[in-house]
Amino acid sequence: MHMKQKRHLVLVGNGMAGARLLEELLERGASESFQITVFGDEPYGNYNRIMLSHVLAGEDGEESIYLNEIGWYAENGIDLRSGVRVVDVDLPAREVVDATGARTGYDVLVIATGSSPHFPPMDGLRREDGSLLPGVSGFRSLDETRAMLEEARSGEHERAVVIGGGLLGLEAAKGLQNHGLDVTVIHSPAHLMNQQIDADAGAVLRRSIEGAGISVVTGARTTGLTACTEKGRVSGVTLKDGRTFPADMVVVTAGIRPNTDVGVRAGLVVERGIVVDDQMLCVEQPVGSQVYALGECAQHRGETYGLVAPLWEQATVLADVLTGADPDAAYHGSRTSTKLKVAGVDVASIGQSGPEHPDDEHVVFSDVRRGLYQSVLVRDGRLVGATLLGDTRKSAALQQVFDRGLPLPEQRVELLFDLGDTAEGSVEDLADDAQVCNCNGVTKGDICGAVADGCTSVKGVMDATRAGKGCGSCKEVVSKVVEHAVAAGGGALTEDPSVHWYVPGVPLRKDELVAAIREQHLTSVSAVFAALAPGGAEDAKSKMGLTSLLRTLWPTEFVDERDARYINDRVHANIQRDGTFSVVPQMKGGVTTPEQLRKIADVAEKYGVGMLKVTGGQRIDMLGVKKEDLPKVWADLDMPSGYAYGKSMRTVKTCVGTDFCRFGLGDSTALGIAIEERFQGIETPAKLKLGVVGCPRNCAEAYVKDVGVVAIGGGKWEVYVGGAAGASVRKGDLLATVDSPEAVIQLTGRFIQFYRTWGNWLERTYDFVPRLSVERLRLVLVEDSDGMCEQVDAEIDAACAAYRDPWKERDAPDAPGRFSAPALPLLPLPVVPSRPMGAPGGTPREQLPVEIVMPNEEALMAGAQQ
């Protein structure tokens, strides 16, 4: 009964290289032979450092960047000491010493301590105690990112200076600019990203960056920082040439330095990094001692790396060596090529960036205005370098030519432009080991493997391999490879079938669902589940969509089950982050009266409304009303609901039109009011916003509304559909020009009813109209090609006739506690201001612990937000 003693592997550094090594080890069954302990300086599991750029930019929440959360370690039998720094290694005793003074023995030690930001010497950089001047930060860790994000969002700072215009600097600049800061990048070499690209490409990149509103200063060294003594924080930077730039925040991204102190303490050979051999074993260590290093802290054949792709290769080799899966595995160094999205610009660089020999052929295509720069460098008939900026679609193909020394076309320019061929480059020609996703180290082979294992959809492969889940610049290639691999296997590319279902819980498209509901006369949401859902199971996320559909199909017979409504539709108001609600009364066409305004003012005072705000929809929002006050507020207002919460017709914005405007060609205000009155409260697949303007100057933004109406003179009106100016911006398509307000109302009604019938759940008209095409809509709705206009008109009439102001429910709520039962929120919640910050009488900023909460990504994708 003798169990083989497991060897103890200690990993110092829980960053991207260390974590990848763990995954590779587990994949090779290392938990059989090793007991693993991990020391990580940062108090987290491990996260995707690359994504910090997205976090700083506010595009991703912290929680979405974790690769393995703390629980993952325990699940895999790994002892994680997170937040514990290793300070020393006792090589002879084979022990590491951590910051608590504790010693931990090891049989095998792996050092993966990464790098730290380099702070070039600058006057005033540090305070007396050695800490950084407040307001100055590096850009490496989650903690630094979090702190910068908080400062950037505080609204207290206006200007930021980024010192260093490499990859990190540009990402930091873009991130801070996203939060409204005025950003200047100061870079001491002569052009941006000089590590990766040549001067001409740098000039094109600079234009793109400046075009995005970021100031760039090159060839300028920062020599000092100034501080504001009052605030005790940075106030500006001083350049060598004497220029000064004011700054409330300074980010230093002037290079990185490998973290070698653990190696130095241990007495290992350290040059720029900890020197390792081809098996990642540290050189010249005592015989029998097993200390390895990988990642940015390691120096291999004279190279240290600053990007993730080489680390993946190192981790694979080391895992092969440690587990004996391939004892002869060897790392030969990585060709540094990069494909990145930097501050929104695609950049790929392969091999050398510019010519060095007189005989080098350097073929350049540059289109500064469009931000394009592409070049190839050929020496002795072989590709030795390529730089692509703005359009990197050719990079995978070029990489392959570079890696394998493939013969080149006689016309070198064909390397950049596949004359004749489609511009996409052929994924078919890619080698299996060609890396497609650099961020997560996924090769074409990995993708094909996932397909061979049964994934047949792009989404499925992305989930299985993590390809495309880093910076996202490779998504297009990933889709192509999947498409190709599936076809090569004789299969057909699938989409997750659920993408076509009307709601996730009932496996039917909208037309099939409508047919089944009509045929079986299903008038309630529970009846639909019972008859049509697998196993008759209800599904919480499907209820809202079904309610909307049933109301459309059965204007009078619909059996209303309140639990099938979203909270907003149960209480006819919009839930806020603190569990209170907003109240937006109808204000047709944006026109109001002194009497209405007086009532609103009185109600706001009486119920302590948190904020009174003029909305982007031309009416007034009362925010912060308690649920139990809603019926009283409505009663006191005695105005109808503005449906600001529903998937329904919201507002009709109007301009002042002929009555007042010297350019007015039609009475847009009156027509807008008439339209709003007619279609008030009509539920639609997604919200519906309208606008009417008195001339093509378009003051009420009718061109970008779901339905927009424009007076063009001579009594004529243009009706546009499918416009948007929200998350996507689209000018509406002209459906028809008609010659009376009545005709406008009729055509609008037809369009709305058609959209109600054929639009998918949560599909805004900006997707619906292009899906069906405006030509088809015109045939059906204007020319009546299908002879259905009469019926459509009758249906919308019936729907309009069924309107009842939901706020009337104040007198007879449908259920006990509908409004009176508080949902008890709750413990200390984010505080909503009692007046906007900065406004007269507003809450001071420092009293506002308002933090940003990220919605459920998937739900957002599904468009399920209100």
Binding site: A537, A540, R562, D563, A821, P822, L827, P828, V853, A859
Partner: protein, 125 residues
């Protein structure tokens, strides 16, 4: 915390019924939730009680662990509750989140028949 916001004053457990009565079942419409404050060993607990359409009841913490949302105002089916604020989901039987959030506590809950109709009793976890 304001324990007084409970709509029904909880009454002490009796020998026959487990936990404390928080409401008549009829006060929680089918398919919906309501929140109550219930005393527990660790102080007053805010509990969301859900009345499933199949007649069962579930009870979990009323405060969404994600960002304090009112779970009782969420939508449910026979398995999960969807928080109204950011649409994260939790399994009502295990309390585990099915969208990657921290779990909620699951509280004991029973429906006791009385001459005044069925009553909901909660035993805080």
């Amino acid at each position: 915390m304001t324990a007084t916001t409970a709509t029904t004053a909880p009454t002490a457990p009796t020998a026959a019924a487990p936990g404390v009565r928080v409401a008549a079942l009829a006060e929680v419409p089918p398919g919906e939730g309501r929140a109550y404050v219930v005393d527990s060993t660790t102080g007053p607990a805010q509990v969301a009680v859900f009345h499933h359409r199949d007649g069962r009841v579930s009870a979990v913490d009323a405060v969404c662990p994600h960002s304090g949302g009112p779970l009782a105002d969420g939508q449910i089916d026979s398995c999960v509750v969807v928080c109204p604020l950011h649409l994260n989901t939790w399994d009502l039987r295990t309390g585990e989140s099915t969208s990657g959030q921290a779990p909620v506590r699951v509280h004991g809950v029973a429906v006791i028949d009385t001459p005044d109709g069925p009553q909901v009793h909660v035993t805080p976890a």
